[in-house]
């Protein structure tokens, strides 16, 4: 019964907690003297020396040399947004419905649409002010086409903040699309793994 990982049972008396054995402080001079002598010759200082020397000899370095090396981040990580393309036609997935603009709680998405030559709605302008964005993921969750998602890119540098946010920056490039290397987002708003089996026919009977 030493499992302290059972978090839902907060009853401390049953969770392997125990009181540390702390001896009473000595009150008289002789007791204090005995304590000093005991502490002096117990060799605890050398235990500390050995611990750090052992770590030095093992040389098990945990440093990540950041710009050259990076920590792996989870596929659900909510970093800078990406605009995805359709696998079939390489066309942009975004249908210009404006839901992301509507739901954005920090009002950082701004979009404009128009009717193109095929009489389809087309996004003419789309910007995300990343200085305002709080990366909550609502836009990715609300998007009916899985068009706007989060990506794994968390570092940007530019002379102008405006450089980050334009549509072409976020859109999957066509050559990447041709190579078939567009990565689907697994996080907020994405399709769950066994979605096909769970889809039911629309009940038209009634």
């Amino acid at each position: 019964m030493k499992n302290t990982e059972v978090f839902n049972n907060r009853n401390v008396s049953e969770n392997g907690y125990y009181l540390v054995d702390i001896a009473d402080y000595p009150t008289d001079g002789w007791g204090k003297f005995k304590r000093v002598v005991k502490r002096t010759f117990r060799g605890e200082l050398f235990v500390g020396l050995w611990v750090v020397l052992r770590e030095m000899i093992k040389f098990d370095i945990h440093t990540i040399q950041y710009p050259q090396e990076k920590m792996p981040i989870g596929p659900r990580y909510r970093a800078v947004h990406e605009m995805k393309r359709l696998w079939e036609s390489d066309a942009e997935r975004c249908i210009g419905c404006g839901l992301c603009e509507k739901i954005c709680i920090s009002n950082c998405i701004k979009m404009d649409t128009r009717i193109d030559e095929h009489s389809r709605k087309e996004v003419s302008e789309y910007t995300i002010n990343l200085g305002r964005c709080i990366f909550c993921g609502y836009c990715a969750e609300v998007c009916p086409e899985l068009a706007i998602t989060h990506g794994g890119e968390y570092e940007q540098a530019s002379e102008q903040r405006e450089h980050f946010v334009d549509y072409s920056y976020m859109l999957t490039p066509l050559d990447k699309m041709k190579a078939g290397t567009q990565v689907e987002f697994e996080g907020f708003g994405s399709i769950t793994p066994h979605e096909d089996e769970r889809v039911k026919k629309t009940p038209l009977a009634y």
């Binding site: 500390g48 611990v51 750090v52």
Partner: protein
């Protein structure tokens, strides 16, 4: 005084100054690296291969930084304090034989600047004067942390002077001289002749006191970062702070030379191997300074005083008395 001697001495002074100023810089590199390895980090890695040029980068930064004299400080004393620390540290080096004498182009070189017959007394005295660096620097600064640090440094240095002096008295009684060369000759017979075997208590006491004298970690309360910021160095910047730093590290190196010379046989019989042995022992003691910094916590000022006056000093006195009796009978 003939001219050749004068020139030789000046050259030796310059060499010692240059080598140990550089070593102080490289010492910081070693300190950062070893502390990092003991804490599973890499330490400086970006400037030069394995961060080796970090020392140069730090030096350039220190030299080119603006020399700030803050408002409300006592200007003249504030300016002279770091010089005292650095100067006393290097002055102490005058009586230390760094290597055995050797032949260079048919000319016998004594790698000691002045073989004065009161060598140890001189070194201890100069290191005692080194107290004025932190003391004056802290008192001239216009903030409470520096003042606290100045008070602490005065207390620590003066108290541990006692332990240093008393602990070393017993070996001095045995050797019958204060010159470090004589100490070395006394132990030149080899491993079995080392004073540490006959004076282990004095060795331990001197070693403990060395931590207080150099202000290293178990007794680092002179500039304890977590309670009094940087102590006396709080208001210093640029090269003035750098002088404090050089003084501290030079002191560490010199103490690391003095301990083996006094207790561990020094350079032995003066052969090449003996010289290497002295450097190896010095390296170990320097490494130990860094090692304890990684391993041990700091003690409180009252514990430090308690340790000095109630534990170390009585032991040192008892050690002297016992040594005296053994020598008499």
């Amino acid at each position: 005084m003939d001219t050749a001697y004068l020139i030789e001495t000046i050259i030796k002074v310059v060499v010692v100054l240059l080598i140990f100023s550089a070593l102080a810089g490289i010492g910081t590199y070693f300190e950062r690296k070893i502390l990092a390895f003991m804490q599973r980090r890499l330490g400086p890695m970006n400037v030069g291969p394995y961060g080796l040029l970090q020392v140069a980068a730090d030096g350039i930064k220190l030299f080119t930084k603006e020399d700030i004299i803050p408002t409300n400080v006592v200007g003249r004393i504030f300016k002279i304090a770091p010089v005292i620390t650095a100067a006393t540290a290097f002055m102490a080096a005058a009586a230390i034989p760094f290597l055995p004498q050797f032949e260079l182009f048919g000319y016998t070189v004594h790698p000691i600047i002045a073989d004065v017959n009161i060598g140890i007394l001189y070194i201890l005295g100069i290191m005692g004067v080194g107290l004025y660096g932190p003391l004056l620097g802290g008192m001239a600064s216009a903030n409470k942390f520096s003042l606290l640090s100045a008070a602490r440094s005065a207390a620590v240095f003066i108290s541990y002077e006692v332990v240093t002096g008393l602990s070393i008295l017993a070996p001095i009684m045995m050797v019958g001289s204060l010159s470090l060369i004589d100490f070395n000759e006394y132990q030149s017979g080899g491993f079995g002749d080392w004073i540490v075997w006959s004076q282990p208590v004095a060795f331990i006491l001197f070693w403990i006191a060395a931590f207080a004298e150099t202000g290293r970690t178990p007794f680092h309360l002179v500039a304890n970062d977590h309670e009094i910021i940087d102590g006396f160095g709080t208001e210093y910047s640029g090269m003035r702070w750098g002088l404090f730093f050089i003084g501290e590290y030079a002191n560490m190196f010199f103490i690391s030379f003095v301990i083996p010379l006094l207790f561990l046989g020094g350079y032995g019989d003066g052969s090449f191997l003996g010289a290497l042995g002295l450097l190896a022992k010095m390296s170990f003691f320097f490494f130990f300074f860094l090692w304890t910094r990684a391993a041990w916590p700091d003690v409180r000022p009252d514990q430090l005083m308690w340790l000095c006056w109630k534990v170390l000093m009585p032991i040192a006195v008892i050690n002297i008395v016992i040594t005296g009796f053994v020598m008499m009978f």
